[in-house]
Symmetry: C2
Subunit: 278 residues, 2 copies
Amino acid sequence: INFTVMVVGESGSGRSTFINTLCGQQVVDTSTSILLPTDTSTEIDLQLREETVELEDDEGVKIQLNIIDTPGLGLSLDNTSSFEIISDYIRHQYDEILLEESRVRRNPRFKDGRVHVCIYLIQPTGHGLKEMDVEFIRQLGTLVNIIPVICKADSLTREELRTNKKLIQEDINRFNLPIYDFPFDEDEISQEDYETNMYLRSLIPLSMIGSNDVFEDSETKTMIRGRKYNWGTIDVEDTNFSDFVILRNTLLISHLHDLKEYTHEILYENYRTEALSG
Amino acid sequence: INFTVMVVGESGSGRSTFINTLCGQQVVDTSTSILLPTDTSTEIDLQLREETVELEDDEGVKIQLNIIDTPGLGLSLDNTSSFEIISDYIRHQYDEILLEESRVRRNPRFKDGRVHVCIYLIQPTGHGLKEMDVEFIRQLGTLVNIIPVICKADSLTREELRTNKKLIQEDINRFNLPIYDFPFDEDEISQEDYETNMYLRSLIPLSMIGSNDVFEDSETKTMIRGRKYNWGTIDVEDTNFSDFVILRNTLLISHLHDLKEYTHEILYENYRTEALSG
Ligand SMILES: Nc1nc2c(ncn2[C@@H]2O[C@H](COP(=O)(O)OP(=O)(O)O)[C@@H](O)[C@H]2O)c(=O)[nH]1
Ligand SMILES: Nc1nc2c(ncn2[C@@H]2O[C@H](COP(=O)(O)OP(=O)(O)O)[C@@H](O)[C@H]2O)c(=O)[nH]1
Protein backbone atom coordinates (compact mmCIF):
# COMPACT_ATOMS: atom_id res chain seq x y z
CA ILE A 1 0.00 0.00 0.00
CA ASN A 2 1.24 3.44 -0.96
CA PHE A 3 0.62 6.18 1.60
CA THR A 4 1.99 9.75 1.61
CA VAL A 5 2.20 11.78 4.81
CA MET A 6 3.39 15.37 5.01
CA VAL A 7 4.63 16.65 8.36
CA VAL A 8 4.60 20.43 8.71
CA GLY A 9 6.17 22.08 11.71
CA GLU A 10 8.55 24.87 12.60
CA SER A 11 12.18 23.99 12.93
CA GLY A 12 12.69 22.56 16.41
CA SER A 13 9.07 21.53 16.92
CA GLY A 14 10.03 17.87 16.93
CA ARG A 15 9.08 17.06 13.35
CA SER A 16 12.03 14.75 12.63
CA THR A 17 11.54 13.08 15.99
CA PHE A 18 7.85 12.58 15.20
CA ILE A 19 8.73 10.83 11.94
CA ASN A 20 11.20 8.52 13.69
CA THR A 21 8.71 7.79 16.46
CA LEU A 22 5.89 7.09 13.99
CA CYS A 23 8.05 4.66 12.02
CA GLY A 24 9.71 3.17 15.09
CA GLN A 25 13.09 3.64 13.47
CA GLN A 26 15.68 6.30 12.65
CA VAL A 27 14.38 7.73 9.39
CA VAL A 28 15.55 11.31 9.78
CA ASP A 29 18.71 12.55 11.42
CA THR A 30 17.73 15.02 14.13
CA SER A 31 21.22 15.91 15.20
CA THR A 32 22.03 18.08 12.20
CA SER A 33 22.14 21.63 13.41
CA ILE A 34 20.61 23.91 10.81
CA LEU A 35 23.32 26.48 10.25
CA LEU A 36 22.13 29.98 9.56
CA PRO A 37 24.25 31.60 6.88
CA THR A 38 26.65 34.12 8.40
CA ASP A 39 24.91 36.78 6.32
CA THR A 40 21.45 36.63 7.85
CA SER A 41 20.04 39.13 5.41
CA THR A 42 19.56 36.37 2.84
CA GLU A 43 16.12 34.80 2.99
CA ILE A 44 16.20 31.29 4.38
CA ASP A 45 13.98 29.27 2.10
CA LEU A 46 11.95 26.37 3.37
CA GLN A 47 13.09 23.14 1.72
CA LEU A 48 10.90 20.07 1.37
CA ARG A 49 12.57 16.77 2.20
CA GLU A 50 11.30 13.32 1.28
CA GLU A 51 11.95 9.95 2.89
CA THR A 52 10.46 6.55 2.12
CA VAL A 53 10.03 3.82 4.72
CA GLU A 54 8.60 0.35 4.38
CA LEU A 55 6.43 -0.57 7.32
CA GLU A 56 4.56 -3.77 8.04
CA ASP A 57 1.40 -3.68 10.10
CA ASP A 58 0.40 -6.44 12.54
CA GLU A 59 -1.37 -8.40 9.80
CA GLY A 60 1.73 -8.54 7.61
CA VAL A 61 0.44 -5.90 5.21
CA LYS A 62 3.28 -3.86 3.75
CA ILE A 63 2.90 -0.08 3.68
CA GLN A 64 5.22 2.05 1.61
CA LEU A 65 5.19 5.22 3.64
CA ASN A 66 6.34 8.35 1.82
CA ILE A 67 7.10 11.16 4.21
CA ILE A 68 7.54 14.78 3.22
CA ASP A 69 8.76 17.16 5.86
CA THR A 70 9.66 20.80 6.16
CA PRO A 71 13.16 21.55 7.49
CA GLY A 72 13.81 25.27 7.77
CA LEU A 73 10.20 26.33 8.36
CA GLY A 74 9.95 29.20 10.81
CA LEU A 75 13.65 30.02 10.81
CA SER A 76 13.39 33.32 8.95
CA LEU A 77 11.83 36.52 10.21
CA ASP A 78 9.24 36.60 7.45
CA ASN A 79 7.40 33.34 6.84
CA THR A 80 4.80 34.49 4.33
CA SER A 81 6.35 32.67 1.36
CA SER A 82 6.70 29.30 3.10
CA PHE A 83 3.14 28.22 2.45
CA GLU A 84 3.45 28.73 -1.27
CA ILE A 85 6.25 26.20 -1.44
CA ILE A 86 4.08 23.61 0.34
CA SER A 87 0.95 24.53 -1.60
CA ASP A 88 2.81 24.34 -4.92
CA TYR A 89 4.08 20.86 -4.07
CA ILE A 90 0.59 19.55 -3.32
CA ARG A 91 -0.92 21.14 -6.43
CA HIS A 92 1.89 19.75 -8.54
CA GLN A 93 0.97 16.20 -7.49
CA TYR A 94 -2.63 16.87 -8.59
CA ASP A 95 -1.41 18.32 -11.90
CA GLU A 96 0.59 15.15 -12.51
CA ILE A 97 -2.57 13.07 -12.02
CA LEU A 98 -4.52 15.39 -14.33
CA LEU A 99 -1.83 14.98 -16.96
CA GLU A 100 -1.69 11.22 -16.60
CA GLU A 101 -5.50 10.97 -16.76
CA SER A 102 -5.56 12.79 -20.06
CA ARG A 103 -2.82 10.70 -21.72
CA VAL A 104 -3.84 8.37 -24.52
CA ARG A 105 -1.03 5.99 -23.71
CA ARG A 106 -0.72 5.50 -19.94
CA ASN A 107 2.66 5.59 -18.30
CA PRO A 108 3.00 2.14 -16.66
CA ARG A 109 5.53 3.43 -14.20
CA PHE A 110 3.52 6.45 -13.12
CA LYS A 111 3.81 7.14 -9.41
CA ASP A 112 0.91 8.78 -7.58
CA GLY A 113 2.58 11.38 -5.36
CA ARG A 114 -0.56 12.93 -3.91
CA VAL A 115 -0.36 13.83 -0.23
CA HIS A 116 -2.98 11.84 1.69
CA VAL A 117 -2.63 13.60 5.02
CA CYS A 118 -0.76 16.54 6.47
CA ILE A 119 0.20 16.44 10.14
CA TYR A 120 0.34 20.07 11.23
CA LEU A 121 2.40 20.58 14.41
CA ILE A 122 1.18 23.31 16.76
CA GLN A 123 3.36 24.86 19.48
CA PRO A 124 2.11 24.39 23.05
CA THR A 125 1.83 28.16 23.69
CA GLY A 126 -1.17 28.17 26.00
CA HIS A 127 -2.79 30.82 23.78
CA GLY A 128 -4.41 28.81 20.97
CA LEU A 129 -3.41 29.26 17.33
CA LYS A 130 -0.97 31.79 15.92
CA GLU A 131 -1.66 33.72 12.72
CA MET A 132 0.72 31.37 10.91
CA ASP A 133 -1.38 28.36 11.98
CA VAL A 134 -4.67 29.95 10.92
CA GLU A 135 -3.25 31.01 7.56
CA PHE A 136 -1.68 27.64 6.84
CA ILE A 137 -4.80 25.63 7.61
CA ARG A 138 -7.00 28.09 5.71
CA GLN A 139 -4.86 28.01 2.59
CA LEU A 140 -4.04 24.32 2.56
CA GLY A 141 -7.02 22.64 4.20
CA THR A 142 -8.90 22.57 0.89
CA LEU A 143 -5.96 20.89 -0.87
CA VAL A 144 -4.96 18.26 1.70
CA ASN A 145 -6.37 16.53 4.78
CA ILE A 146 -4.93 18.43 7.75
CA ILE A 147 -4.74 16.81 11.18
CA PRO A 148 -3.64 19.35 13.83
CA VAL A 149 -1.26 17.95 16.46
CA ILE A 150 0.12 19.65 19.58
CA CYS A 151 3.84 18.85 19.61
CA LYS A 152 6.02 18.43 22.71
CA ALA A 153 2.95 17.69 24.82
CA ASP A 154 5.28 16.67 27.65
CA SER A 155 5.88 20.36 28.31
CA LEU A 156 2.23 20.67 29.36
CA THR A 157 0.67 19.67 32.66
CA ARG A 158 -2.64 17.83 32.44
CA GLU A 159 -4.45 21.10 33.11
CA GLU A 160 -2.48 22.99 30.47
CA LEU A 161 -3.10 20.31 27.85
CA ARG A 162 -6.83 20.62 28.48
CA THR A 163 -6.61 24.40 28.16
CA ASN A 164 -4.52 24.24 24.98
CA LYS A 165 -6.90 21.77 23.31
CA LYS A 166 -9.91 23.89 24.27
CA LEU A 167 -8.38 27.16 22.98
CA ILE A 168 -7.31 25.54 19.70
CA GLN A 169 -10.74 23.97 19.21
CA GLU A 170 -12.30 27.39 19.78
CA ASP A 171 -10.00 28.92 17.18
CA ILE A 172 -10.79 26.15 14.68
CA ASN A 173 -14.49 26.88 15.11
CA ARG A 174 -14.16 30.67 15.23
CA PHE A 175 -12.16 30.76 11.99
CA ASN A 176 -14.09 27.90 10.40
CA LEU A 177 -10.83 26.15 9.61
CA PRO A 178 -10.93 23.31 7.06
CA ILE A 179 -9.27 20.57 9.10
CA TYR A 180 -9.81 16.84 8.51
CA ASP A 181 -12.46 16.08 11.12
CA PHE A 182 -12.89 12.36 10.41
CA PRO A 183 -15.91 12.79 8.15
CA PHE A 184 -18.16 9.84 7.33
CA ASP A 185 -21.20 8.85 5.32
CA GLU A 186 -24.16 8.80 7.72
CA ASP A 187 -25.92 6.01 5.81
CA GLU A 188 -22.93 3.74 5.37
CA ILE A 189 -21.20 3.87 8.71
CA SER A 190 -21.33 1.21 11.39
CA GLN A 191 -22.17 2.17 14.95
CA GLU A 192 -18.67 1.26 16.02
CA ASP A 193 -16.96 3.37 13.37
CA TYR A 194 -19.36 6.20 14.12
CA GLU A 195 -18.27 6.18 17.74
CA THR A 196 -14.61 5.99 16.77
CA ASN A 197 -14.88 9.02 14.51
CA MET A 198 -16.81 11.04 17.09
CA TYR A 199 -14.20 10.12 19.67
CA LEU A 200 -11.35 11.18 17.36
CA ARG A 201 -13.12 14.49 16.71
CA SER A 202 -13.24 15.14 20.45
CA LEU A 203 -9.46 14.63 20.70
CA ILE A 204 -8.52 17.24 18.08
CA PRO A 205 -5.85 18.60 18.28
CA LEU A 206 -4.14 15.32 19.11
CA SER A 207 -1.25 15.56 21.57
CA MET A 208 2.16 14.19 20.65
CA ILE A 209 5.28 13.24 22.55
CA GLY A 210 8.14 11.86 20.46
CA SER A 211 11.59 10.52 21.12
CA ASN A 212 14.68 9.23 19.35
CA ASP A 213 15.84 7.34 22.41
CA VAL A 214 15.04 3.71 23.13
CA PHE A 215 16.21 2.51 26.51
CA GLU A 216 15.45 0.11 29.32
CA ASP A 217 12.82 1.45 31.68
CA SER A 218 14.28 1.05 35.18
CA GLU A 219 10.91 0.15 36.64
CA THR A 220 9.42 -2.29 34.14
CA LYS A 221 12.77 -3.56 32.84
CA THR A 222 11.37 -3.43 29.29
CA MET A 223 12.77 -1.44 26.35
CA ILE A 224 10.75 1.71 25.77
CA ARG A 225 10.93 4.66 23.41
CA GLY A 226 10.78 7.63 25.69
CA ARG A 227 12.16 10.71 27.37
CA LYS A 228 14.18 10.44 30.55
CA TYR A 229 14.05 13.49 32.78
CA ASN A 230 15.63 14.02 36.18
CA TRP A 231 12.13 14.16 37.60
CA GLY A 232 10.57 11.21 35.79
CA THR A 233 10.46 9.02 32.69
CA ILE A 234 7.93 9.18 29.85
CA ASP A 235 7.01 6.27 27.62
CA VAL A 236 5.77 7.76 24.32
CA GLU A 237 3.41 4.80 23.95
CA ASP A 238 1.67 5.52 27.26
CA THR A 239 -1.83 6.60 26.32
CA ASN A 240 -2.20 8.45 29.62
CA PHE A 241 0.52 10.88 28.53
CA SER A 242 -0.31 11.59 24.87
CA ASP A 243 -2.49 10.64 21.89
CA PHE A 244 0.47 9.26 19.95
CA VAL A 245 -0.67 5.64 19.85
CA ILE A 246 -4.15 6.75 18.76
CA LEU A 247 -2.62 8.97 16.07
CA ARG A 248 -0.42 6.16 14.76
CA ASN A 249 -3.32 3.69 14.63
CA THR A 250 -5.49 6.26 12.90
CA LEU A 251 -2.90 7.06 10.24
CA LEU A 252 -1.59 3.59 9.51
CA ILE A 253 -4.52 1.32 10.28
CA SER A 254 -8.04 2.59 10.92
CA HIS A 255 -8.14 5.67 8.68
CA LEU A 256 -5.47 5.04 6.08
CA HIS A 257 -8.06 4.16 3.44
CA ASP A 258 -10.43 6.93 4.51
CA LEU A 259 -7.66 9.48 4.07
CA LYS A 260 -6.66 8.15 0.62
CA GLU A 261 -10.28 7.97 -0.48
CA TYR A 262 -11.11 11.48 0.69
CA THR A 263 -8.03 12.84 -1.06
CA HIS A 264 -8.94 11.14 -4.33
CA GLU A 265 -12.74 11.46 -4.35
CA ILE A 266 -13.19 14.89 -2.77
CA LEU A 267 -10.03 17.00 -2.65
CA TYR A 268 -8.58 15.92 -6.00
CA GLU A 269 -11.99 16.08 -7.70
CA ASN A 270 -12.53 19.65 -6.41
CA TYR A 271 -9.10 20.61 -7.69
CA ARG A 272 -9.79 18.96 -11.04
CA THR A 273 -13.14 20.71 -11.46
CA GLU A 274 -11.59 24.08 -10.69
CA ALA A 275 -8.62 23.43 -12.98
CA LEU A 276 -10.68 22.24 -15.94
CA SER A 277 -13.37 24.91 -15.66
CA GLY A 278 -10.70 27.56 -15.88
CA ILE B 1 16.36 50.99 44.46
CA ASN B 2 14.91 51.48 40.99
CA PHE B 3 15.56 48.63 38.56
CA THR B 4 14.07 48.13 35.10
CA VAL B 5 13.94 44.70 33.47
CA MET B 6 12.63 44.02 29.99
CA VAL B 7 11.51 40.47 29.15
CA VAL B 8 11.41 39.66 25.45
CA GLY B 9 9.93 36.41 24.22
CA GLU B 10 7.48 35.08 21.68
CA SER B 11 3.90 34.72 22.77
CA GLY B 12 3.62 31.42 24.61
CA SER B 13 7.29 31.20 25.54
CA GLY B 14 6.48 31.59 29.22
CA ARG B 15 7.26 35.28 29.54
CA SER B 16 4.41 36.15 31.87
CA THR B 17 5.11 33.04 33.94
CA PHE B 18 8.76 34.04 34.15
CA ILE B 19 7.79 37.45 35.54
CA ASN B 20 5.50 35.89 38.13
CA THR B 21 8.15 33.33 39.10
CA LEU B 22 10.87 35.98 39.37
CA CYS B 23 8.71 38.14 41.64
CA GLY B 24 7.27 35.22 43.57
CA GLN B 25 3.78 36.63 43.05
CA GLN B 26 1.06 36.99 40.43
CA VAL B 27 2.17 40.11 38.56
CA VAL B 28 0.87 39.25 35.11
CA ASP B 29 -2.26 37.36 34.20
CA THR B 30 -1.23 34.40 32.02
CA SER B 31 -4.71 33.06 31.42
CA THR B 32 -5.74 35.71 28.92
CA SER B 33 -5.94 34.08 25.53
CA ILE B 34 -4.63 36.48 22.91
CA LEU B 35 -7.48 36.63 20.41
CA LEU B 36 -6.43 36.89 16.79
CA PRO B 37 -8.73 39.29 14.92
CA THR B 38 -11.16 37.38 12.71
CA ASP B 39 -9.61 39.15 9.73
CA THR B 40 -6.06 37.83 9.96
CA SER B 41 -4.85 39.99 7.11
CA THR B 42 -4.39 42.89 9.54
CA GLU B 43 -0.91 43.07 10.98
CA ILE B 44 -0.78 42.13 14.63
CA ASP B 45 1.38 44.72 16.29
CA LEU B 46 3.58 43.92 19.22
CA GLN B 47 2.50 45.90 22.27
CA LEU B 48 4.76 46.71 25.17
CA ARG B 49 3.25 46.22 28.64
CA GLU B 50 4.61 47.61 31.89
CA GLU B 51 4.17 46.40 35.47
CA THR B 52 5.74 47.64 38.69
CA VAL B 53 6.40 45.40 41.67
CA GLU B 54 7.95 46.24 45.02
CA LEU B 55 10.29 43.51 46.19
CA GLU B 56 12.30 43.28 49.37
CA ASP B 57 15.55 41.40 49.40
CA ASP B 58 16.76 39.35 52.38
CA GLU B 59 18.46 42.40 53.93
CA GLY B 60 15.25 44.42 53.93
CA VAL B 61 16.34 46.55 50.98
CA LYS B 62 13.34 47.61 48.90
CA ILE B 63 13.62 47.22 45.12
CA GLN B 64 11.12 48.93 42.86
CA LEU B 65 11.14 46.52 39.95
CA ASN B 66 9.79 47.90 36.69
CA ILE B 67 9.04 45.15 34.22
CA ILE B 68 8.41 45.67 30.52
CA ASP B 69 7.24 42.70 28.53
CA THR B 70 6.22 41.94 24.99
CA PRO B 71 2.76 40.37 24.56
CA GLY B 72 2.00 39.60 20.94
CA LEU B 73 5.59 39.04 19.80
CA GLY B 74 5.83 36.27 17.22
CA LEU B 75 2.11 36.03 16.57
CA SER B 76 2.17 37.48 13.07
CA LEU B 77 3.66 35.90 9.98
CA ASP B 78 6.12 38.73 9.45
CA ASN B 79 8.03 39.81 12.51
CA THR B 80 10.47 42.28 10.98
CA SER B 81 8.84 45.38 12.49
CA SER B 82 8.69 44.04 16.05
CA PHE B 83 12.25 44.98 16.89
CA GLU B 84 11.76 48.59 15.94
CA ILE B 85 9.04 48.95 18.57
CA ILE B 86 11.38 47.61 21.25
CA SER B 87 14.39 49.54 19.97
CA ASP B 88 12.38 52.78 19.84
CA TYR B 89 11.28 52.31 23.44
CA ILE B 90 14.85 51.88 24.70
CA ARG B 91 16.14 54.82 22.67
CA HIS B 92 13.28 56.98 23.93
CA GLN B 93 14.38 56.40 27.53
CA TYR B 94 17.90 57.55 26.59
CA ASP B 95 16.48 60.60 24.81
CA GLU B 96 14.56 61.51 27.95
CA ILE B 97 17.80 61.42 29.96
CA LEU B 98 19.56 63.54 27.31
CA LEU B 99 16.76 66.06 27.48
CA GLU B 100 16.76 66.17 31.26
CA GLU B 101 20.57 66.53 31.35
CA SER B 102 20.39 69.59 29.17
CA ARG B 103 17.62 71.36 31.11
CA VAL B 104 18.60 74.49 33.03
CA ARG B 105 15.93 73.85 35.62
CA ARG B 106 15.83 70.16 36.59
CA ASN B 107 12.52 68.37 36.85
CA PRO B 108 12.41 67.17 40.47
CA ARG B 109 9.95 64.42 39.60
CA PHE B 110 11.94 63.05 36.67
CA LYS B 111 11.79 59.28 36.44
CA ASP B 112 14.71 57.41 34.90
CA GLY B 113 13.07 54.83 32.65
CA ARG B 114 16.23 53.31 31.15
CA VAL B 115 16.16 49.55 30.71
CA HIS B 116 18.94 48.00 32.79
CA VAL B 117 18.70 44.46 31.46
CA CYS B 118 16.78 42.58 28.80
CA ILE B 119 16.01 38.91 29.39
CA TYR B 120 15.78 37.37 25.92
CA LEU B 121 13.87 34.07 25.87
CA ILE B 122 15.09 31.46 23.40
CA GLN B 123 12.99 28.48 22.30
CA PRO B 124 14.43 25.04 23.12
CA THR B 125 14.58 23.95 19.47
CA GLY B 126 17.68 21.80 19.58
CA HIS B 127 19.07 23.74 16.63
CA GLY B 128 20.64 26.83 18.19
CA LEU B 129 19.48 30.35 17.36
CA LYS B 130 16.86 31.35 14.79
CA GLU B 131 17.33 34.31 12.46
CA MET B 132 14.96 36.29 14.68
CA ASP B 133 17.22 35.69 17.68
CA VAL B 134 20.39 36.69 15.86
CA GLU B 135 18.79 39.83 14.45
CA PHE B 136 17.31 40.89 17.78
CA ILE B 137 20.53 40.50 19.73
CA ARG B 138 22.56 42.19 16.99
CA GLN B 139 20.27 45.20 16.77
CA LEU B 140 19.60 45.66 20.46
CA GLY B 141 22.70 44.36 22.21
CA THR B 142 24.42 47.74 21.80
CA LEU B 143 21.46 49.56 23.39
CA VAL B 144 20.69 47.29 26.34
CA ASN B 145 22.31 44.51 28.37
CA ILE B 146 20.95 41.27 26.91
CA ILE B 147 20.99 38.04 28.92
CA PRO B 148 19.91 35.06 26.77
CA VAL B 149 17.73 32.53 28.58
CA ILE B 150 16.42 29.16 27.33
CA CYS B 151 12.75 29.07 28.30
CA LYS B 152 10.72 25.94 29.20
CA ALA B 153 13.91 24.08 30.03
CA ASP B 154 11.76 21.29 31.49
CA SER B 155 11.05 20.17 27.92
CA LEU B 156 14.73 19.25 27.60
CA THR B 157 16.48 16.17 28.91
CA ARG B 158 19.84 16.75 30.57
CA GLU B 159 21.54 15.75 27.33
CA GLU B 160 19.38 18.06 25.21
CA LEU B 161 19.99 21.01 27.54
CA ARG B 162 23.72 20.50 27.15
CA THR B 163 23.35 20.35 23.35
CA ASN B 164 21.13 23.43 23.23
CA LYS B 165 23.51 25.48 25.37
CA LYS B 166 26.47 24.40 23.24
CA LEU B 167 24.78 25.22 19.93
CA ILE B 168 23.61 28.62 21.19
CA GLN B 169 27.08 29.44 22.53
CA GLU B 170 28.54 28.54 19.14
CA ASP B 171 26.05 30.82 17.40
CA ILE B 172 26.83 33.67 19.83
CA ASN B 173 30.51 33.32 18.98
CA ARG B 174 30.04 32.73 15.24
CA PHE B 175 27.89 35.84 14.85
CA ASN B 176 29.85 37.85 17.42
CA LEU B 177 26.62 38.71 19.20
CA PRO B 178 26.73 41.60 21.71
CA ILE B 179 25.28 39.84 24.75
CA TYR B 180 25.90 40.89 28.34
CA ASP B 181 28.68 38.55 29.31
CA PHE B 182 29.22 39.71 32.88
CA PRO B 183 32.14 42.05 32.09
CA PHE B 184 34.43 43.31 34.80
CA ASP B 185 37.41 45.57 35.42
CA GLU B 186 40.47 43.34 35.60
CA ASP B 187 42.22 45.62 38.08
CA GLU B 188 39.31 46.22 40.41
CA ILE B 189 37.74 42.80 40.76
CA SER B 190 38.13 40.47 43.71
CA GLN B 191 39.10 36.86 43.14
CA GLU B 192 35.68 35.76 44.34
CA ASP B 193 33.77 38.06 41.99
CA TYR B 194 36.09 37.07 39.16
CA GLU B 195 35.20 33.44 39.68
CA THR B 196 31.50 34.27 39.92
CA ASN B 197 31.55 36.15 36.61
CA MET B 198 33.54 33.45 34.84
CA TYR B 199 31.07 30.85 36.17
CA LEU B 200 28.09 32.90 34.96
CA ARG B 201 29.69 33.21 31.53
CA SER B 202 29.96 29.42 31.34
CA LEU B 203 26.24 29.09 32.03
CA ILE B 204 25.07 31.32 29.18
CA PRO B 205 22.38 30.83 27.94
CA LEU B 206 20.82 30.32 31.37
CA SER B 207 18.05 27.75 31.56
CA MET B 208 14.65 28.68 32.97
CA ILE B 209 11.65 26.78 34.27
CA GLY B 210 8.77 28.91 35.51
CA SER B 211 5.41 28.26 37.08
CA ASN B 212 2.29 30.05 38.28
CA ASP B 213 1.34 27.19 40.58
CA VAL B 214 2.31 26.96 44.22
CA PHE B 215 1.33 23.69 45.87
CA GLU B 216 2.34 21.23 48.56
CA ASP B 217 5.01 18.83 47.43
CA SER B 218 3.71 15.36 48.28
CA GLU B 219 7.21 14.16 49.20
CA THR B 220 8.67 17.00 51.25
CA LYS B 221 5.29 18.30 52.49
CA THR B 222 6.53 21.87 51.90
CA MET B 223 4.93 24.48 49.64
CA ILE B 224 6.79 24.75 46.36
CA ARG B 225 6.37 26.73 43.15
CA GLY B 226 6.53 24.12 40.46
CA ARG B 227 5.10 22.02 37.67
CA LYS B 228 3.25 18.81 38.40
CA TYR B 229 3.38 16.24 35.65
CA ASN B 230 1.93 12.75 35.61
CA TRP B 231 5.49 11.46 35.47
CA GLY B 232 7.06 13.69 38.12
CA THR B 233 7.12 17.03 39.92
CA ILE B 234 9.50 19.94 39.29
CA ASP B 235 10.44 22.54 41.88
CA VAL B 236 11.46 25.68 39.94
CA GLU B 237 13.91 26.50 42.74
CA ASP B 238 15.75 23.20 42.35
CA THR B 239 19.17 24.14 41.00
CA ASN B 240 19.62 20.67 39.54
CA PHE B 241 16.77 21.33 37.13
CA SER B 242 17.42 24.92 35.96
CA ASP B 243 19.49 28.08 36.42
CA PHE B 244 16.47 30.04 37.67
CA VAL B 245 17.74 30.63 41.22
CA ILE B 246 21.13 31.72 39.85
CA LEU B 247 19.38 34.05 37.38
CA ARG B 248 17.24 35.59 40.11
CA ASN B 249 20.21 36.16 42.40
CA THR B 250 22.21 37.66 39.57
CA LEU B 251 19.47 40.08 38.56
CA LEU B 252 18.24 41.17 41.98
CA ILE B 253 21.29 40.82 44.20
CA SER B 254 24.79 40.18 42.88
CA HIS B 255 24.66 42.03 39.54
CA LEU B 256 21.89 44.59 39.97
CA HIS B 257 24.39 47.41 40.40
CA ASP B 258 26.72 46.13 37.69
CA LEU B 259 23.81 46.12 35.22
CA LYS B 260 22.69 49.65 36.17
CA GLU B 261 26.26 50.93 36.07
CA TYR B 262 27.02 49.39 32.69
CA THR B 263 23.79 50.83 31.27
CA HIS B 264 24.61 54.33 32.52
CA GLU B 265 28.38 54.49 32.04
CA ILE B 266 28.79 52.52 28.81
CA LEU B 267 25.56 51.99 26.88
CA TYR B 268 24.00 55.39 27.59
CA GLU B 269 27.31 57.20 27.10
CA ASN B 270 27.78 55.52 23.69
CA TYR B 271 24.25 56.50 22.71
CA ARG B 272 24.83 60.06 23.92
CA THR B 273 28.09 60.42 22.00
CA GLU B 274 26.45 59.19 18.81
CA ALA B 275 23.39 61.37 19.30
CA LEU B 276 25.35 64.57 20.02
CA SER B 277 27.97 64.10 17.30
CA GLY B 278 25.44 62.84 14.70
N1 LIG C 1 10.10 17.84 25.12
C1 LIG C 1 10.07 17.27 23.91
N2 LIG C 1 11.13 17.47 23.09
C2 LIG C 1 11.07 16.89 21.89
C3 LIG C 1 9.97 16.12 21.45
N3 LIG C 1 10.22 15.70 20.18
C4 LIG C 1 11.42 16.17 19.86
N4 LIG C 1 11.95 16.89 20.88
C5 LIG C 1 13.24 17.55 20.91
O1 LIG C 1 13.16 18.79 20.22
C6 LIG C 1 14.38 19.03 19.52
C7 LIG C 1 14.10 19.24 18.06
O2 LIG C 1 13.57 18.07 17.52
P1 LIG C 1 13.62 17.75 15.97
O3 LIG C 1 12.91 16.47 15.76
O4 LIG C 1 15.02 17.85 15.46
O5 LIG C 1 12.76 18.97 15.41
P2 LIG C 1 12.57 19.49 13.92
O6 LIG C 1 13.54 20.59 13.71
O7 LIG C 1 11.17 19.99 13.89
O8 LIG C 1 12.79 18.35 13.00
C8 LIG C 1 15.30 17.84 19.80
O9 LIG C 1 16.14 18.16 20.88
C9 LIG C 1 14.32 16.74 20.19
O10 LIG C 1 14.89 15.77 21.02
C10 LIG C 1 8.87 15.93 22.35
O11 LIG C 1 7.87 15.29 22.06
N5 LIG C 1 9.00 16.53 23.56
N1 LIG D 1 6.80 23.46 30.22
C1 LIG D 1 6.79 24.75 30.64
N2 LIG D 1 5.70 25.49 30.41
C2 LIG D 1 5.72 26.77 30.84
C3 LIG D 1 6.83 27.33 31.50
N3 LIG D 1 6.54 28.62 31.78
C4 LIG D 1 5.29 28.84 31.33
N4 LIG D 1 4.80 27.72 30.76
C5 LIG D 1 3.48 27.54 30.16
O1 LIG D 1 3.49 28.08 28.86
C6 LIG D 1 2.22 28.69 28.57
C7 LIG D 1 2.42 30.14 28.19
O2 LIG D 1 2.98 30.82 29.26
P1 LIG D 1 2.87 32.41 29.38
O3 LIG D 1 3.62 32.79 30.60
O4 LIG D 1 1.45 32.84 29.28
O5 LIG D 1 3.65 32.83 28.08
P2 LIG D 1 3.76 34.28 27.38
O6 LIG D 1 2.73 34.31 26.29
O7 LIG D 1 5.14 34.31 26.81
O8 LIG D 1 3.55 35.30 28.42
C8 LIG D 1 1.37 28.53 29.83
O9 LIG D 1 0.57 27.38 29.67
C9 LIG D 1 2.40 28.31 30.91
O10 LIG D 1 1.93 27.59 32.02
C10 LIG D 1 7.97 26.50 31.74
O11 LIG D 1 9.00 26.90 32.28
N5 LIG D 1 7.89 25.22 31.28
